[in-house]
């Protein structure tokens, strides 16, 4: 059991990256419009995030330095400040969307207007950030979030035509009624979601919170190699559910109730209840990940005292940052903005944040002053360089594609 709980950090990080409310919707939209023809992007993204999350975890375990301290130190105040602005906005937009997502999921369960749930959700989040131990937080949200496995079960119960799904996945092509630009816009959105920078901020800071040392490197690797592929499989499962139920009928997904419909068709009320629990846990976990990441990034850039292992009075500015972020999120949501639409804009900021996050990690992972004998091997560096090229191409193409396609509409 201890071994399983030891993987909670990786699982929670991956849930926040792959299964937050924006990704739940994006995956279902992609499934209903493109079938599994974009599944290869998730594979590319999973390999990339495994590579860099493992590097950031190793740097944190060996040197005790979390990712944004390294970004500030290697890029200087200007470039790191640009990254901070972009990353902080991504965090804030995602946090806002997640708080709204918790409210939408609770609305599915209770039929109570989401705006009544929003303050409740934000208060619950703050209480966890304020009072709960990091290990309890990651274990509970990580394990409960695993109930989203019901999406994968639903794929089998729905009894699809496996030949068609395999054909979509292994011979990807743009469906006749969709444009190439839209296809590539969603490819970048899925890649950006897989590689979203707050995952490495949270994972590396979590490694510091958990006080990982050199002897924990195996655990770090296990976290990465279990958590992120699991997140990837579940996101493909969501797309597959939508591809089975909605694609043949030409229905486009636009709301949370549609996303859970295939699960309800497959497993009835019980499965529906399980999936709603899973969505609440996943959005709650993603909200914790993004609110903590906003505190981590700002505190590490400025050199403030941070961390949930300290009592709040010993990391005062860190906790104040998170309180302000939660208040802003509630304020924005109270204007009745659609939480799912909010995350679409984070693609734009990813364009700046992605290269400026992953380059410094790669540089420091090769610095013997930090890493001693634990510097990157040649194979890791070769892969990482290939990924840096992909990241730069994706980030350059993101904004033009978003404008051309009207954000995929």
């Amino acid at each position: 059991m201890k071994k399983v709980l030891g993987l909670a950090l990786g699982i929670l990080t991956a849930i926040g990256g792959f299964l937050d409310i924006g990704d739940l919707v994006t995956n279902a939209v992609v499934g209903s419009r493109f079938g599994l023809s974009l599944a290869w992007v998730v594979v590319v993204g999973v390999v990339g995030i495994c590579l860099f999350a493992q590097m950031s975890g190793r740097v944190a375990a060996v040197s005790g330095r979390a990712t944004f301290e390294i970004i500030r130190e290697r890029l200087g105040p200007r470039a790191a400040g640009a990254n901070l602005s972009a990353s902080f906005l991504i965090n804030l937009l995602t946090l806002t969307a997640e708080v709204g997502g918790i409210a939408l999921a609770l609305q599915l369960a209770s039929s109570v207007e989401p705006r009544l749930w929003i303050p409740v959700a934000a208060l619950a989040l703050w209480l966890v950030v304020w009072r709960t131990k990091f290990s309890i937080m990651e274990n509970v949200t990580g394990l409960v979030g695993l109930t989203l496995v019901v999406f994968a079960v639903a794929v089998f119960v729905l009894g699809p035509d496996w030949g068609t799904l395999a054909d979509q996945a292994f011979h990807p092509s743009v469906p006749a009624n969709e444009g190439h630009a839209v296809y590539w816009y969603y490819a970048i959105a899925l890649f950006g979601a897989a590689m979203t920078p707050y995952e490495v901020f949270f994972f590396s800071s979590g490694a510091v919170e958990e006080k990982w040392k050199v002897k924990d490197l195996t655990q770090s690797r296990a976290n990465v190699l279990v958590g992120f592929p699991l997140g990837g499989i579940l996101s493909v499962a969501i797309a597959a559910c939508a591809a089975i139920v909605f694609l043949p009928k030409g229905i486009e997904v636009s709301s949370l109730s549609q996303i859970v419909l295939p699960v309800a068709l497959a497993g009835g009320k019980l499965a529906l209840a399980v999936v709603i629990v899973g969505i609440v846990a996943a959005t709650f976990g993603a909200a914790l990940e993004t609110s903590l990441s906003s505190g981590y990034t700002l505190a590490q850039f400025m050199g403030w005292s941070w961390g949930k292992f300290r009592r709040p009075a010993r990391a005062a500015r860190f906790h104040l940052t998170m309180i302000i972020c939660l208040l802003v999120a509630v304020g924005v949501l109270m204007t009745s903005v659609d939480p799912i639409k909010i995350t679409e804009f984070s693609v734009v900021f990813s364009a700046i944040a992605l290269p400026l996050t992953y380059l410094p990690i790669l540089v420091v992972a090769n610095d013997p002053e930090y890493m001693g004998t634990y510097v990157n091997g040649r194979a890791t560096n070769a892969f990482a360089l290939v990924y840096l090229v992909i990241i730069v191409v994706a980030s350059v193409a993101a904004i033009p594609l978003m404008i051309v396609t009207g954000a995929g509409s």
């Binding site: 330095r65 130190e73 990091f134 403030w304 009592r311 009075a313 500015r317 104040l320 002053e369």
Partner: protein, 130 residues
């Protein structure tokens, strides 16, 4: 008459930009204090704006308002400099370590202000997470 300086300086050679600027500063207990936002450098003849013609020494680490001028350029008024005397520094590695408590330093006044006026007033703020 003084001897000419050694070609090869003895001891650890530090590059101010690479090894000092933007590094995390930790206090004697390992608690983060701030980041090295800038350095105060004096010429060994005592001038506060050495022009490169004489040897210079780092006298203080700076933090706070100087971050804005590092990003935007310029020079903040001396009254807004928050200094950590170089004599407090005990080690320079992947972090800069001090031999004093961070809470005794002027640079952490914002942390103390937020703690005293906001965080300590919220119930549970002064307790370990349970």
């Amino acid at each position: 008459m003084s001897l000419p300086p050694d070609e090869q300086q003895p001891g650890l050679v530090l590059d101010a930009r690479l090894h000092l600027l933007d590094r995390q500063i930790l206090d004697v207990d390992g608690v983060p204090v701030c980041t090295v936002d800038d350095l105060e450098v004096h010429g060994i003849d005592g001038s506060d704006r050495p022009d490169g013609s004489q040897q210079a020494v780092v006298t203080s680490l700076l933090s706070g308002a100087v971050l804005a001028t590092r990003i935007l350029g310029g020079r903040p008024p001396a009254s807004r400099w928050h200094r950590i005397r170089w004599t407090h520094v005990v080690d320079v590695g992947t972090t800069v370590k001090l031999g004093v408590h961070g809470s005794e330093l002027d640079v952490t006044w914002t942390e103390r202000w937020v703690r005293d006026h906001v965080i300590s007033r919220i119930p549970g703020g002064s307790h370990d997470p349970g």
